[in-house]
Amino acid sequence: METFGNSHTRAGRPHSKLAVTLGAAVLVAAMAIAPFSAQAQTQSGQGGSASDKVDTLGAIKARGYFICGVAGDRPGFSFPDGKGVMQGLDADICRSVAAAIFGDPEKIRFTSLTSLTRFPALQSGEVDMLARFTTWTLTREASLGLDVASVYFYDGQGFMAKKSLGVKSALELDGATVCVTQGSTSEANMVDFFRAHNLALKPIVIEKIEQVRDALANNRCDAYTNDSTLLGSLKLSMGPAGDEYILLPDVISKEPLGTFVRKGDQRFFDIVRWTYIAMLTAEENGITKTNIDTFRKTRDPQNQRFMGETGDLGAALGLDAQWAVNVIKAVGNTAELWDRTIAGLGIQRGVNRLAKDGGLQYAPPMR
């Protein structure tokens, strides 16, 4: 009997292997084809490769959804909540563009990107836009073939130091062990800062932000440097242990975080830029998600244009006349955006207020 069973095994195994392979191959092939078929539609609207008539908007419309690159693991900017829905400032910036194009913020797919994969993903067309707390710099715009359409957040790099060190400024961190996260501009900024002020530096490079918490808890770092928003949220989330650290007043870098798009498609660039400006304009004029319908009957010509009642702002962008209304209805104005996302990290709005309130955010006229 045993021998009989064994012969079954012998004969059966290669066959089953073959069919398993076939089944699995079908699944993989289907995985490969599904995006291809979507992509084929994309291509049909896209003219040809590297031509100057690249139609990202047409491709997005033909596809039926907008693809946005985010980090996906940074609270306040983009992270999935308990239900798996992407939340945060970056995520809502993405949704605003989807709302401007489709009138529906849910016609969107998020792609989680690391700091290493973000630019190749945008360059290769895997995503339509990048909103991944990415700093606007000269080289990124000039040599990567990318454009920054809007700056939705002004951040800066700061230091968080142990209270027991007794330092009042980053200039006193001579010889300190400073922890920093890998592959970001903060590492280079820190080295520049210490070199410029002729300070000795003992850096510890840590790969993941989650590991920083352990490093701080185990007293491996005298100080930690990163964007000040991140320091604030880290300190807050450490609970009582966070009180052992202070945020130093020095800001050693400028970190204007922008929306990145591929160069060569001015139409799409304009849509991303003016979608953000529409949210700023709404805040300036007191238009919010909840009261927007009361502006339908407005006499103010500026608001009439905003609401699409007069003028042809939407048509100029190749969008629906109601595009700005759709954006505000979907995500609200910039103040609402802030309150819903970054404010939860315990961070003051500071320079990110409107220009009329003393901040840097300024909306060019929409006419």
């Binding site: 045993e2 021998t3 069973g5 079954h8 095994t9 012998r10 059966g12 195994r13 290669p14 066959h15 089953s16 292997k17 069919a19 398993v20 392979t21 076939l22 089944g23 699995a24 079908v26 699944l27 993989v28 995985m31 490969a32 599904a34 995006p35 291809f36 992509q39 291509q43 490769s49 996906g72 693991d73 940074r74 609270p75 992270f79 999935p80 909540d81 308990g82 239900k83 798996g84 829905v85 797919r109 998020f110 792609t111 989680s112 290493l116 994969t117 190749p120 360059q123 290769s124 067309g125 895997e126 993941k208 989650e210 918490r213 807050l236 450490m238 609970g239 009582p240 939860g344 990290l345």
Partner: protein, 379 residues
């Protein structure tokens, strides 16, 4: 043979080997002999017992007695102060809140029953495939059918199921998909590569050698980066393979290279006489491989094969570096939310237990299989 002869020559040998002092001894005799045979050993035993008891009790207290099982919900999300209070134990409330995200990732919340069924299907499929009595051709058909069904459930798009892009797949379901499809394709591929490496045809031989050496010479993380960063740039503009597919292909290539070496080890362990006998009988190369060589070679290498499968199952967690929400990455992201930051230990324990359940089952199964198959051989 020798034992048999001995028995005949000296029939009293067996009785002489019996140890009467153990009869009626049981546990106490065993303990006295092994644990308390001198004052030093008694001391060591007692110290170790005390240490184990202390660790065990504090662990039990942390995990159960002092644990926080749920937290109140506030307007800004859950209020986790009770978890952060001094002296509080494990915060299992984080698992209660996030387990669906850890298991299913960013899959639409209302549709979670679909990946849940997929996980059940996978486990069922593994159990059925593990039983020798089902090892026949129909099993292969079942696999094909199940994989189609799994694809259907995960994507949807027909029969009233809403379409879900693979960009939203995640959690344990994604880990199982990557690992299972990886092994299911890599294993047959590895057999071909192993046969090719021992081939007499120089071109095929060197192709297989180059493939194995190149892939084995590179860490999986590099392959994943290549697939995720370099590959899209090499493709013509507008043509894009999905991120998951690229990762899956990289993983298949990686798995196959390692498995090929394991299979080759089995092939080399086979006496040359087996090949010669097969050829003498007039069997062709493929008949020899299929009926004579592979059944014996593969049986020899079951332990290292399963060892590799276990490793691969855990290696799939590396896809987190290209931003896929597999089981481990989901667990990490679950505690990125400010309210839940700092409860990594609990989520890692949860994810770790899931990994352990699968890996331990594989390991026990391989021992059982090895035992059963070797019984046949040594009979």
């Amino acid at each position: 043979m020798t034992a048999l002869v001995e028995h005949i020559v000296n029939p009293t040998l067996i009785e002489a080997r019996e140890r009467p002092e153990l009869i009626g001894g049981g546990f106490f005799a065993w303990a006295r002999e092994k644990l308390f045979y001198s004052w030093l050993s008694s001391l060591t035993t007692l110290v170790l017992l005390a240490a184990m008891a202390k660790v065990g009790i504090s662990l039990f207290q942390w995990a159960f007695l002092d644990a926080v099982w749920s937290v109140p919900a506030g307007p800004q999300g859950p209020i986790t102060d009770s978890c952060r209070a001094l002296g509080s134990g494990a915060c299992w409330a984080v698992i209660r809140e996030k387990y669906r995200f850890i298991l299913f990732g960013t899959y639409p919340f209302e549709q979670h029953w679909r990946p849940a069924i997929v996980i059940a299907l996978f486990v069922g499929l593994f159990v059925v495939s593990a039983m020798k009595r089902f090892w026949r051709i129909e099993l292969a058909a079942l696999w094909g059918l199940m994989l189609l069904l799994i694809g259907l459930l995960m994507w949807g798009g027909i029969f009233g199921l809403t379409f879900v892009s693979q960009a939203n797949w995640g959690g344990l379901a994604l880990t199982l998909i990557i690992a299972t499809i990886g092994v299911a394709i890599a294993f047959p591929l590895s057999v071909l590569v192993a046969l090719g490496r021992r081939s007499d045809l120089p071109f095929i031989k060197w192709l297989c050698v180059a493939y194995v050496e190149v892939i084995r010479g590179v860490p999986l993380i590099t392959l994943l980066f290549m697939a995720s960063v370099m590959f899209p740039l090499l493709m013509p503009e507008g043509v894009n393979l999905d991120k998951l597919v690229r990762a899956q292909i990289a993983i298949i290539l990686f798995f196959a290279a390692y498995l090929a070496e394991v299979v080759r080890g089995g092939l080399q362990a086979l006496p040359k006489g087996q090949y010669e006998a097969a050829y003498v009988l007039g069997l062709s190369y493929w008949q020899t491989s299929r009926r004579i060589v592979l059944p014996q070679a593969l049986r020899t290498v079951i332990p290292p094969l399963v060892n590799n499968f276990i490793g691969f199952f855990k290696d799939t967690s590396l896809v987190l570096i290209i931003g896929l929400y597999d089981l481990l990455h989901s667990a990490q992201v679950a505690v990125a939310e400010p309210a839940w930051q700092g409860f990594g230990v609990e989520t890692y324990i949860f994810a770790g237990l899931i990994y352990f359940a699968f890996c331990f089952a594989m390991s026990r199964y391989s021992q059982w299989l090895e035992f059963g198959l070797n019984m046949l051989r040594h009979r």
